[in-house]
């Protein structure tokens, strides 16, 4: 299975290595660097690189390449999934997963990795269990440890490991018992230049933060669960209960976790809550082009649209842009030709717009590709699908 793991930063330094079997020389990463060079962008590095004696499987997250070395046939998704789990675990432990943080906590990282794999096969990957085995560093604990000489490592086998609910640690106690559920729905749409929707899909997740004492058994039911078309669950959810009654019944892990993600079967139209008016034109004769976009709300049910960010990759022929936004800030990177405009909130009375001119390469013919406009936005307190309202939640604690 997984032989070794190398962490490589964007400048190509291997800043952490861990071997679970015999040591694999770090020179194996040269093949990776080669592939990295060939792919112009970090995202384009192939996730699987065969070398004469090994296979390198990598994921790229938080500007770090996590490169796993394997020697024999393993389902690639097995490794990739595991690497992502590693990143998630780091994030859970340290808040962020970045090179400096990993370097600062290298010992904890090493201990965690040691627990996660045994001989290359995953051993403990649930963060609740890992946290019992190796306690995440906090300032308080660091101080206490140095004074009392106690350690970050638990000396008992986490009880969860042996129970039928391996994801939950036992002996949890809270004075305030609380559980929060965030329903986050994302609408993902491709819209053509005339404004008609080509595809649109709604995906949702329910993230939970559960801080309840003991072994709580929770039940959640939905207003109209039939419209949840395709769901995937945290292992704690009792699947057959969902199958038969469309009720979520589970013993939650302690802390933050993703309870389920779903896909709403939007039969036909998904109402897209924003629109973009654009007028981008290049003229053949002059070296100037016009650029104008306006963003406006549409069917938002009275909610404000926030966090609007517009990005657009301009054609190579564009040398520079001089634009004036009616609100927010914008930047244009003349090297990558990336325009980004941080709009902020949309005020329906005064629609934000960005106008100006583009200077094009003199002499060159007008670019024939249309820039794609990517629009990100957020709306609080609005479920696009409207179906996923949680009907009732029953908490039982045993």
């Amino acid at each position: 299975m997984i032989h070794s793991l190398f962490l490589i930063n964007s400048s190509g330094d291997i800043f952490l290595e861990k071997h679970w079997k015999s040591v694999v020389s770090r020179s194996v990463c040269d093949y990776f660097f080669e592939a990295q060079e060939r792919a112009t962008e970090a995202e384009n590095v192939p996730p699987v690189i065969p070398t004469p004696h090994h296979y390198l499987l990598s994921v790229y997250r938080h500007k770090i390449f996590f490169v796993a070395v394997i020697q024999t046939e393993v389902p690639p998704l097995f490794v990739i999934e595991f690497l992502h789990r590693v990143v998630d675990t780091f994030q859970d432990y340290f808040g962020v997963c970045s090179e400096p943080v990993i370097k600062d906590n290298v010992v904890v990282v090493y201990e965690v990795l040691e627990e996660m794999l045994d001989n290359g096969f995953p051993l403990a990957t649930e963060s609740n269990i890992l946290k019992e085995l190796i306690k995440p560093p906090t300032i308080l604990r660091t101080v206490v440890n140095t004074i009392t000489g106690s350690t970050n490592v638990g000396d008992q086998l986490p009880t969860g490991q042996l129970s039928v609910v391996p994801w939950r640690r036992t002996g949890v106690k809270y004075t305030n018992n609380e559980a929060y559920f965030d329903v986050i729905e994302e609408i993902d749409a491709i819209i053509d230049k005339s404004g008609s929707t080509i595809t649109a899909e709604i995906q949702g997740v329910i993230d939970a933060c559960v801080k309840l004492t003991g072994m709580p058994d929770l039940t959640l039911s939905f207003m109209n669960p039939r419209l949840l078309d395709d769901v995937s669950f945290h292992p704690c959810v009792r699947f057959k209960r969902w199958e038969s009654e469309r009720i979520l019944s589970f013993i939650p892990p302690d802390g933050n976790f993703r309870l389920l993600s779903y896909h709403v079967s939007a039969q036909n139209l998904v109402a897209i809550p924003v629109y973009v008016k654009h007028n981008i034109s290049f003229r053949d004769s002059s070296s100037l082009g016009r650029f104008e976009i306006t963003v406006g709300p549409k069917q938002t049910m009275g909610k404000t649209i926030e966090g609007v960010i517009v990005t657009s990759q301009m054609p190579k022929g564009v040398l520079n842009m001089s634009l004036t936004p009616s609100q927010g800030t914008h930047t244009f990177d003349p090297v990558t030709k990336m325009l980004s405009w941080d709009v902020g909130k949309i005020n329906p009375q005064k629609l934000p717009s960005l106008k100006g001119t583009m200077s094009l390469q003199a002499g060159a013919s007008k670019p024939d590709e249309n820039p794609t406009i990517n629009l990100h936005f957020k709306i609080q307190q609005l479920a696009i699908s409207e179906y996923t309202t949680i009907n009732k939640a029953i908490f039982k604690t045993t």
């Binding site: 015999s22 990598s58 992502h84 001989n119 096969f121 660091t142 993600s261 054609p315």
Partner: protein
């Protein structure tokens, strides 16, 4: 303990190399005074401290006269650098040791060599501070291989650790012991593994399983002994061990498939509770296993598919010769007897299916490949949705999934067609993802969707990512070759691209056009001329070469232009790229042969230029060509055939996906991804011709099978409670399970209740009533539930299946699924089952069928008088349907299949203490209140005593819902049954009606949830009325869904039957044969529900539901689509 700890240290001195020990001794006095910076300071800034100390070290040890270093050859400064660390490791303070170890581990992490600290570190292996110990382990595992002798010193500590009462310590001792790759200790490891394999703690056993491959890689001679351990661990019943031991099995002895037999069913049943990583390994192993043990479901499917046809022709002989190509290969099989899926095969498919909902992409992929390789064609479709879901994950996951989808989409295009839009490319996708998506889109393109696909492609061509644009053009080319209808459109589009400003685009287009033109060159003289003009501008060598080749090949179509092009090329010959030069020579030769008058001189000129070219390929080609075409004295024989050689008709190239035939690798595997065999890849075997003996998987009852347990229970009538202890076996949870009794109770109720094709929700309800089931029972219940579902399907099958071929077909398939869902049955008396399996003929009364399917505990009297007549009427209705389509008055009474929704269970007899209650939606108007759905409730008393005073108690209803209770049944004698009718106004929603069923002594909480199709009643209208009403209900009230009708439901009456089974609607007559219209009104509000199904002969269909009740409409669409595409 402290003294204890010194032990290994003292061993070091006499046993180890004197040098190492001396080294430490020498070092300590020097640094001792200095070793005391306040600990907190160290803890907070170890890094800085290290650097601060570095210069000091360099000076101090010099004076101390280190003596010989551990390795004399090493430079002096190297070992000295770590003196401070050694010093810290030698102190008695744990905090200092810890600090030192942390710094050492940090060095290892950065890839720095810390091997010279080995002696100092190894001493601390017995340190009682657990974190120090752990870090020492980390160090030891990393360096033990390099310093084997010294590593041996630590062994005794681990051997002690193996006996520790704390399971965590036992496990970690075994972990480290087995990770030290020192061949000398192989016997010790072997012993330790054997011991740990029978440890009490499952965690330790898991560690033992992990240790097996480690030992195997160290010394493969131990294989036989290790296999024994594996065999033992395979029999383990805990989920914790299962994944790890299968992994060990895969690494050590994947060929010993015989070890799996006895554990097969257990593994299938445990699967859902195993952790994700284990699931992946087990599933992929079981895929291989199933390929060796079961018969192919697909080869027999071709048989099934052909069956209806044969029935049509009515001759048995046809069957012998009729088979298509696929069958020809299997004809040798004893294929005449209908294929019956091995129940164990079914078990595997059934138990893996829920894992498609896993959050782990690896698990989903594993199940998907299992279904792809093992499931009958009709069932493979379920994986598509889950795979499409994975496309929303990280890009690396997408990359792998898309590769697999690309392979699958070649074999099973229909599976992904509904998700075409999910493969549309986003501008933010990385290039490699875009190209893979393009591949999938191309594979999915067919006659019907090609316009949309091409429109998408058009957008892609304008992308800024040039690699992607090139791939798009190739994709267009492939679509054009595959789909003849759009070939001209594509060609025109590509020709337009020739005027694109981007040279890469033009070049790629030329290459693709060349391939397309080869298919029908005669009609495209114009395009060739256009291309000829391009030679002036286009610079990309590949494109130039393609154009030249085209002109040469089809010079007859452009007789005037060709010589001119050659003239131009001759002029620029020296400046061309090699590949172009070769084509110039080709062109010259071909023109010389066809039109020597005009081109003789030019050809000679080109050939002489080529003769002195730098590239030997070109020189060779020139020489070769000259000999062929220019007649010389001796070479006459060949040159006579020159024309044949050069102008032979060439077959058009086939543009194929690079993913074709990749499925001979197991999907989801690394080898599949790389399209090359990876080390250690286990070939996916072909299906066996003859099924191996299924009885090898039988296990004696005591050993473990849940199935046989259950079987036994059933025989003993009522041992549910007493048996619960043994029942909690499957997951053998560490924590005891106080509720197992109630859980097993509810489980068994649901399970035996399934015999009566109960609805899931009901049995579920009892469960709730009984209190929630403990988790250890999860898998148990799971399978119980699954069974219930199966049964339900059966019931539906019977509801529809009563007419001609379809009837026999569905009933045989239902009996098949029935059988397979009951593994225990099969296991005990496979023969008796065999007898029952032959597909029942169409005339077989369904009522009998039910009892055949039933388990022993089904009480015969509860086959209610309602069903037989209705069955007749349905079959009559469907028979008549084909004849009297336009005769609307006839339809209404007959068309509503009363048994449309089969009997559902309201109360199981166990939960009801002998009182069993079922209900059906009778679809007859409820006499009291037209807004109510009438529900027939069947009571039967299987207890010893009469049940008295049956009535409905205080209902707890959601707002809007009301119940018209049935009149109280005064008494129900033992063995007797009764029927009552009650009305429920569901208020046009699928909310659950909860109420109490009271007897004199007891109250039972029951609930009824209506399928959406039961919330309406048929109305009858003419086609014109229908159209008029439909016109009013457009826009938001219209819901449309596209679907593909499977082959099995293309005929009129089946479609009608399926729709009317799902929903209580009336058929509206209509003129065209491909359109079906149905109308109904919701019961409460009386809103119209209009359903239109527009079916094309190809199987594509569009379903439209118009209703102002949008929710009902949406749900109805979903239900109908499901029924039709099943």
């Amino acid at each position: 303990m402290q003294r204890f700890l010194q032990l290994p240290g003292s061993v070091v001195r006499p046993g180890g190399r004197g040098a190492g020990a001396a080294d430490q001794e020498a070092a300590s006095p020097v640094l001792a005074p200095e070793g005391g910076p306040p600990p907190w300071y160290q803890a907070l800034q170890p890094e800085e401290l290290r650097w601060l100390q570095a210069p000091e070290e360099d000076t101090t040890p010099e004076a101390s006269l280190e003596g010989p270093g551990p390795e004399p050859g090493q430079s002096q400064s190297q070992p000295l650098r770590h003196d401070d660390l050694k010093e810290m490791l030698d102190t008695n303070k744990d905090s200092l040791k810890l600090e030192a170890m942390k710094r050492i581990v940090a060095m290892i992490a950065r890839g720095k060599n810390a091997s010279d600290l080995f002696p100092a570190v190894v001493k601390n292996v017995a340190c009682k501070n657990i974190e120090v110990k752990k870090l020492v382990y980390v160090y030891l595992v990393r360096y033990a291989e390099e310093q084997q002798d010294l590593a041996l010193l630590s062994i005794s500590t681990f051997q002690r650790g193996l006996k520790d009462p704390n399971q965590l310590i036992r496990a970690s001792a075994l972990r480290v012991l087995s990770s030290i790759r020192v061949p000398i200790i192989v016997p010790i490891m072997m012993l330790a593994i054997k011991e740990a394999a029978s440890d009490m703690s499952p965690y330790v056993r898991k560690t033992a399983a992990h240790a097996i491959p480690k030992l195997y890689s160290l010394d493969s001679d131990q294989k036989d002994q290790l296999i024994e351990v594996i065999e033992k661990l395979l029999a383990d019943k805990t989920t914790l061990v299962a994944g790890s031991v299968v992994m060990a099995f895969e690494e050590v002895c994947p060929e010993r498939i015989d070890l799996i037999h006895k554990n097969y069913r257990k593994l299938c049943n445990l699967l859902i509770d195993v952790e994700e990583w284990g699931q992946v390994v087990i599933i992929s192993m079981l895929t291989r296993y199933a390929r060796t043990q079961f018969l192919s479901p697909t080869q027999n499917e071709s048989l099934l598919e052909e069956n209806p046809e044969k029935a049509f022709y009515g001759s048995e002989e046809d069957e012998a010769k009729g088979p298509g190509s696929e069958e020809a290969t299997t004809a040798a099989l004893p294929a005449r007897k209908p294929y019956v899926m091995d129940p164990d095969h079914r078990l595997l498919l059934r138990n893996t299916k829920p894992l498609l909902q896993s959050r782990s992409a690896a698990v989903v992929m594993a199940v998907a490949q299992l279904y792809f390789h093992l499931a009958p064609k009709a069932e493979v479709g379920v994986i598509a949705k889950a795979l499409v879901r994975l496309l929303r994950s990280h890009s690396e996951v997408q990359y792998v999934v898309l590769q697999n989808v690309a392979t699958m989409s070649i074999k099973r295009r229909g599976m992904f067609e509904p998700y075409l839009k999910s493969f549309y490319i986003r501008s933010t996708d990385p290039t490699q993802i875009k190209i893979l998506k393009l591949e999938v889109l191309t594979n999915l393109a067919n006659e019907t969707n090609i316009p949309t696909v091409l429109r998408e492609f058009q957008t892609y061509i304008r992308s800024m990512d040039k690699d992607f644009v090139a791939a798009t053009i190739q994709a267009i080319g492939r679509c054009a070759t595959n789909i003849g209808r759009v070939r001209d459109t594509c060609l025109n589009g590509l020709v337009q691209l020739l005027s694109n400003r981007d040279e890469l685009v033009v070049a790629e287009s030329v290459v693709v056009i060349k391939k397309l033109l080869q298919m029908q060159p005669a009609q495209h003289g114009e395009i060739i001329k256009h291309l000829a003009k391009l030679t002036d501008n286009i610079q990309v060598p590949m494109a130039r070469a393609s154009i030249l080749w085209l002109i040469g090949e089809y010079c007859e179509h452009v007789p005037k232009i060709a010589p001119d092009v050659l003239r131009k090329m001759a002029k620029s010959f020296t400046a061309e790229e090699d590949i172009v030069k070769l084509q110039v020579i080709n062109l010259a030769a071909k023109l010389y042969l066809t039109n020597s008058k005009q081109t003789k001189l030019l050809t000679q000129y080109v050939l002489s230029l080529a003769k002195y070219d730098q590239n030997y390929d070109i020189r060779d080609r020139a020489r070769f060509t000259r000999q062929l075409i220019v007649p010389s004295e001796q070479g006459g024989a060949l040159s006579r055939h020159a024309k044949k050689l050069f102008l032979a008709p060439k077959p058009a190239p086939v543009l194929e996906s690079s993913f074709k035939d990749r499925d001979h690798f197991q999907l989801g595997s690394l080898s599949h991804l790389l399209n090359a065999k990876a080390t250690g890849y286990q070939e996916l075997p072909d299906w066996p011709e003859e099924a191996p003996d299924p009885s090898v998987r039988n296990v004696e009852v005591p050993e473990w099978t849940k199935c046989s347990n259950r079987e036994k229970r059933k025989e003993k009538e009522k041992p549910f409670y007493s048996d619960s202890e043994g029942e909690s076996g499957p997951t053998e949870s560490a924590d005891s399970d106080p509720e197992s009794e109630s859980a097993s109770d509810s489980k068994s109720s649901s399970e035996s209740g399934s015999g009566e094709s109960s609805s899931e929700s009901d049995s579920e309800d009892q469960e709730e009533e009984k209190g929630k089931s403990s988790d250890s029972e999860q898998s148990e219940e799971e399978s119980g539930k699954r069974k219930v579902k199966k049964r339900k399907k059966v019931a539906e099958g019977q509801g529809e299946g009563s007419s001609s071929d379809e009837g026999s077909d569905s009933s045989s398939s239902s009996s098949e699924s029935e059988r397979t869902s009951d593994t225990e049955e099969e296991q005990v008396e496979p023969d008796s089952w065999r007898k029952k399996t032959p597909p029942s003929s169409k005339s077989a009364p369904v009522a009998k069928e039910i009892s055949l399917l039933d388990l022993e505990d089904f009480t015969p009297p509860s086959v209610q008088p309602v069903s037989p007549p209705t069955i007749v009427s349905t079959s009559l209705a469907t028979d008549l349907e084909g004849l009297t389509l336009t005769d609307s008055p006839l339809v209404p009474s007959l068309l509503s299949p009363v048994s449309g929704v089969g009997r559902q269970e309201l109360l199981h007899r166990v939960a009801g203490e002998g009182l069993a209650v079922d209900y059906t939606f009778s679809r007859q108007p409820f006499s009291g209140d037209p807004h109510m759905v009438s529900v027939h409730i069947h009571f039967s008393n299987s207890s010893e005593t009469p049940i008295k005073g049956l009535h409905v108690g205080t209902p707890k209803l959601p707002p809007g819902i009301s119940i018209q209770e049935f009149p109280e049944i005064e008494s129900l004698a033992p063995g007797e049954s009764a029927t009552a009718v009650m009305g429920i106004n569901f208020c046009d929603s699928t909310q659950v009606a909860n109420f109490q069923l009271c007897t004199q002594t007891r109250q039972f909480y029951v609930s009824i949830q209506p399928p959406v199709g039961e919330l309406m009643a048929p109305v009858f209208m003419s086609e014109n009325e229908f159209k008029k009403e439909q016109g009013k209900l457009t826009g938001m009230s219209e819901i449309t869904e596209k679907l593909t009708l499977p082959d099995t439901c293309r005929s009129d009456h089946i479609v009608v039957q399926k729709v009317t089974t799902v929903a209580n609607l009336g058929r509206v007559p209509c003129g065209t044969s491909d359109e079906y219209r149905f109308a109904g009104r919701t019961l409460t509000s009386g809103s119209l529900v209009l359903l239109t199904l527009d079916a094309q002969p190809t199987g594509a269909a569009q379903l439209t539901v118009n209703s102002e009740k949008m929710v009902i409409g949406t749900m109805l669409v979903k239900d109908v689509v499901q029924a039709l595409t099943q």
